[in-house]
Structures are given as C-alpha cells and as structure tokens.
Amino acid sequence: MSTANTSESPPFYVSIEHDYLALTNEVVLAHGANIGRFWIYGQDALDLLNRISTQQLSDLKQNEVSLTVQTTNKGRIVDLLTVANLDDRLLVFTALEAKDRVMDLIEFFSFDDDVKLEDCTAETELYQLIGYQAPTKIASFLTDESNVPDINRAKQISINNEPIVIVRTGLTKIPVYQILALNSGKAIHSKITGSGVPFVGTKALEIFRIENGVPAFGSELSERFNPIEAGLSNAISFDKGCYVGQEVVARLNTYDKVKRQLIRLSWNKPGIQKGDIIFFEEQEIGEVTSCIKKTKEVYIGLGYLGRNLKLNDVKIGLKRVSAKVLKV
C-alpha cells in the first residue's frame, strides 16, 4: 500500500477565523493529502467504470470530468469518485482512505477487459486552489488563460517541462481547482509558494465542507448509506441502464423509498460528537455524521434525518442539545 507524499496540513495557519475568511472571500491553497489518485489505462477503462458506477460515463469526452459513485451490489456507497478523461488514460480521485478498496473492486470486476490500474498517489503532488478569486489566480500561474479549465473540465499542460493536470470540479459554488504535478512538482511548487496565496488549515476546510453540505468518506459516505440520501443525485444517471447496485438505486428512486436525507445542523453548546443521536420529542430520528466548532459559540455539523420530517429544531445527544436543522 502506498502512502501520500503530500504534506500534512496543520489545523490552522494564522487562526481558524483568518483561514476561513481567506477561503470564503479570497483564495487559498490546500495540500491534497487526503485525496487518493490513480490512473486507469486501456481501451475498456471508461466502459468498465460505466458498468460499475452510477454516472453515465461511456460518453465522457476527452478532458471532461464527471462525478460518479462506486456502489456495492446492494446500492450502498463505496466512495464518490471524480473521473477525468485524459484521452490516453483516466485520472480518478477518491478519498485516500477509500483508495485501496476502490482499486481492488475495479480489479475484481475487470475480467477480459483491456484495463490497467496504476496508483499514482505517492509519485504525484496535489494542491487545491479554492476561492472566488481562484479563476483569476490560476490564470496568473498559468500565464495563458486558455489553460484554465471550465467547470467539469481538465487541462493537461506543462510548466518548465513539468507535466501538470488541472481539474475543476463543481461540488461547491466556490471554485475549486485540483492541481496535480506528475513529476517532482518543483515548478508548480515554486509558482505556488511565490504567488502569495496563503495555505489553509484543515479546520477551516472542514468548516467550509460542512457549510456547503459536501459529504465526506467515512462520515456521510460509507456502506451504511446510499447515494440518493447522501445528496449525490447529480452523480447518478437514472436512465443509463445496468451498473453494480443499479436495481436497488432505481427502486429507491422510482418507488420513493429513500428513508433518510442529508441535513446541516447548527447549535451553540459543546459536547456533540460524530455518531450522536438526533431526537425529536424523545424519538430517535437521525444521527450526526460530522461536527466542528465554527466560532466561539457556534457549532455546525452534518447528519442524516428521516426524509419526510420537516423539522426546524431538534435535540442532539445525551445532553439533548438544541440544534437548528438546515437544508443542504
């Protein structure tokens, strides 16, 4: 098993508040230390991924990027994948913790297929450029604006003869670019460190993720949940035909059988943890899957709640802390 060579980020640089303001108002850089990545080579790569995940990928064109969910045959989530078609190969991003399982499953489902997987997590360097000013900033890195990819597109370029892949995904309203240096990454590293863009710590990133309702592997994304309740309908094609888990996902959708929904939560007292039960009038109605302290007296989280419950106020945990329910 390979390990990421990307640097671990600290919880914050200047302060959580400072990091958060730079992230939400300007532009920041983050190390992609928790993102696993691998290549899939071969003529059948796209067809195989199309057969074993939720999105219509068979017509993904060169330099197009798509989200897809790898599901079990029971329609449960293995992980959310970002797939970029680079023509001669596919680039796949997954959670670092999920990467080995994702790759093992693809290998398992590959029989006579012309497919070869290659883990590139350890050999590549990944940075994320995040913020409203990210499009302008990345254009200044790349000197030529035509090198900046649009939403759900990828570009392969060279900086000082070093190959780089830039992927722009559309999971949040704030622009996010994944910058993958294929070799040493020295050229892009010197551009980045010389740009004046500050790095962001893990705490502000987690606040940003939770506020934007982005589900994460190990919290909202696991084999306990299906992709519809995780709010990943934009990564599912409901008319593409069979894929692993399709029968269950289609049934949930067609017969309106989805029982839970992903929600955001906000409360004002400490002591709430991931896994705490959400109550309404002493009845268990859901659970907290992520939580973090945003400011001195504001805590935010994500959780799953019974789908047809239209509630604004709930209680959480043994202490029955009052919390507000917000839509994702």
Partner: protein, 119 residues
C-alpha cells in the same frame, strides 16, 4: 481413532444441457460458422455485479479452459471459471422468455431480469 468416509463429490466443471447444445449448433449454423465453439465468460457489471457473456469463437484464447460436451466445445477464461465452476448451461423456451439460462451454484444473488449475479 475413527475415520470418516468423505462423500466423493463430482469435479466442479461446466455442463451443457442437450437443449442448450442444440441451440449453440443452430446459432453457429445460422451465423455461417457451423464449426464455431462457444466462449462462456463473466464480466463486471449488471445490477448484481457480474454478468454472463456468450460468444461464438473459432478456438480457445490463451489461458482458456476447454470443456467438450455433446459435440460443443466450451472455452472458459481462467478468471471467469472461478465464478462459473459447477454451472449448468441450459436453454429456456418457456413463456417467461427464450434464451440461455445459467444455473450457477456460485450465484448468491441475481438481479430481477436474471442477467447478472453476485457471489
């Protein structure tokens, strides 16, 4: 010391029914390839994870296992064989639809339309 006699089990192979063999010959003949063999394989995909693949072929590929029964040569890729061992290939012409049917003891789940299975 006591010894227990273990019941001998037939070797796990892939068998083909008379009806299925007849239809293989018929399809081969209609395709203008009367001497063609049948390649039986598995590929990833389908609601339950694995789907069956049948192809008329002129001979085995490298690493294929070949079984000859009722005048039909079945070529099975090595990796697929693990999931097909013990399968009886039959042909159904009943009211529920015509076609080849895989009676696969390894299939723990099958999808509604019966074209894919899970192990």
């Amino acid at each position: 010391m006591t010894t227990t006699k273990r019941k001998s089990r037939p070797p796990l192979t892939i068998t083909i029914s008379e009806g299925a063999a007849e239809h293989v010959r018929e399809f081969a003949s209609k395709a203008g390839r009367p001497t063609a063999d049948l390649r039986v394989a598995v590929k990833g995909g389908g609601c339950s994870g694995l789907t069956y693949v049948l192809d008329l072929v002129e001979g085995p590929e490298e690493d294929d296992k070949t079984i000859e029964q009722l005048g039909v040569k079945l070529h099975v890729p090595k990796k697929s064989y693990v999931f097909l061992a013990g399968t009886m290939l039959d042909y159904s012409s009943g009211l529920n639809g015509k076609g080849f049917v895989f009676n696969n003891p390894n299939a723990k789940t099958t999808c509604g339309c019966g074209t894919s299975f899970g192990v």
